[in-house]
């Protein structure tokens, strides 16, 4: 069986790279949808996380949303919103996909922002107040800069999950790269299934790597990390986990 050859042929065929159902259009749809959902999710989750982490009020909200975010199947949200949004304007499948992705983006950003802001050393905050910093200054000049690596990490988790799950939008009739897989399933076109899967996987990995680089840029190097031989502490299975997706 020469599946790889057939996949290569599919990926390089000129007709797959043009038209309204071509790879560039589907890729752009996928990226656009993912970006919109992640940005809107961040617009809600970030201020909420900052507020909860700074004021230490309604902390159960951040914890509960973080836990439910894992348990709630995004495929389920897609199914739930599908019928409710059928008569809404726009292309078929747009709204259920968008709503599912938007809801998916919130928990990691909220949890990481909350943990990051709250986790700033209490003595440091006291010292800042003692130096005469106002509340707003404590937040913008101390807590937010120190929380930035974790916040960006939350953004990465959200973005990768959203890009991965946007694939399911095709099931609800929306476009994106999942279209190739779902259509391939329905006609039994193996090269298209695998080719589409390859494109989706590459986009997800690229998102992970891209945000990972950003995370590295915003994370200040501490002395303990630079010195060789120091045993790196392994992160436990807590909220801000290492890799995004599995969705």
């Amino acid at each position: 069986m020469d599946l790889f050859g057939a996949v290569w042929t599919w990926l390089t065929a000129a007709e797959n790279w043009s038209g309204s159902a071509g790879i560039p259009v589907r890729l752009w749809e996928h990226i656009q949808m993912s970006a919109q959902a992640t940005i809107l999710g961040a617009l809600i989750a970030f201020p909420a996380g900052v507020y909860i982490g700074h004021k230490r009020r309604f902390e159960f909200v951040a914890v509960t949303v973080g836990n439910f975010g894992r348990a709630l199947p995004s495929f389920g949200i897609l199914g739930l919103t599908y019928t409710f949004t059928l008569n809404w304007p726009g292309n078929i499948g747009f709204w259920p996909t968008f709503i599912a992705l938007f809801l998916l983006a919130i928990p990691p950003i909220l949890a990481n922002t909350y943990v990051g802001v709250k986790g700033v050393d209490a003595d440091t905050v006291e010292a800042a107040r003692g130096m005469g910093m106002r509340e707003g200054e404590v937040l913008t000049r101390l807590e937010l800069p120190l929380a930035t690596p974790l916040i960006v990490s939350g953004l990465r988790l959200a973005a990768v999950q959203v890009v991965a799950t946007a694939t399911l939008g095709a099931v609800a009739g929306w476009g994106g790269l999942g279209r190739f897989i779902v259509d391939g399933f329905s006609v039994g076109d193996d090269p298209q299934i695998v080719g589409g899967a390859l494109l989706v996987a590459l986009l997800a990995v690229a998102t992970e790597v891209g945000f990972g680089l950003l995370e590295r840029v915003v994370t200040p190097k501490t002395r303990s990390q630079r010195s060789a031989g120091g045993r790196r502490v392994l992160p436990g299975p807590a909220i801000g986990s290492e890799a995004g997706s599995a969705s």
Binding site: L72, P73, F75, G79, I181, V194, A197
Partner: protein, 226 residues
């Protein structure tokens, strides 16, 4: 028969649910079975790898990188890669589901083991424990809470992912979600989603109980000193 959603019909058709209790039960069992199998096989693979990574620190980076890459691949894409080889089978579903548990489970075991206080380790070695006695009688019991925390996360994640396997003909409760979309019948989607969420919450709760049962020392209340 399954009715289509028409104007004015209620979103939740209780009668339909009552008529399909047998289906609901079958799918619930299938969902639990697919989840259990994935986490169990995932643990069988993760456990030795994690012990290895714990003993040979340098191997943890590559192990985490490979399992992290697997975790990043969207589930539908991973199933799609496998379908030409293993077709629409339980094997396809399980290969995908197991791959997603590895990162979480390995990290759980490794961080549990590295959290063992060095005092306990040294005391055991001082008492003449061998390397394997140290592992089985000191390190593993002490890291059980963290390991079970990893199992909880892996299980809850897997329960959500099982719904996606509906697209390759399995799916457990995901079958109802897909039916809801295909036939524009919200009762089915709602049923599948709520039951899947409920199953995740229930199993998570049960695992917390299990953890308390097997590690009573980690939860013993501090008695007030009189």
């Amino acid at each position: 028969m399954i009715r289509a959603q028409v104007e004015g019909q209620p979103y939740i058709d209780w009668g339909w649910i009552a008529d399909h209790m047998d289906d609901v039960w079958t799918r619930l069992i299938e969902h639990s079975y697919l989840t259990f199998l994935a986490v169990a096989i995932g643990m069988l693979i993760s456990f030795p790898l994690a012990i290895f990574a714990h003993r040979h620190r340098r191997s943890y980076g590559p192990i985490a990188a490979v399992t992290g890459l697997l975790y990043t691949i969207p589930s539908l894409a991973l199933f799609a890669f496998l379908v030409p080889y293993t077709r629409l089978s339980v094997l396809t579903a399980e290969i995908g589901l197991v791959s997603y548990t590895l990162l979480i489970l390995i990290r759980g075991v490794v961080s549990g083991l590295s959290g063992v206080p060095s005092d306990a380790r040294e005391a055991a070695l001082g008492m003449g424990y061998s390397r394997s006695e140290l592992l089985w009688r000191v390190e593993l019991p002490l890291s059980t809470p963290v390991i079970i925390a990893g199992i909880r996360i892996a299980t809850v994640t897997t329960i959500g992912l099982v719904t996606v396997t509906a697209l390759i003909g399995k799916g457990g409760l995901g079958f109802f979600i897909l039916m809801g979309i295909d036939r524009n019948f919200p009762t089915a989607s709602l049923l599948g989603s709520i039951l899947s969420l409920g199953l995740a919450v229930l199993v998570d709760f049960l695992l917390v109980r299990v953890e308390r049962l097997v590690t009573p020392w980690a939860h013993r209340e501090r008695r007030a000193t009189i």
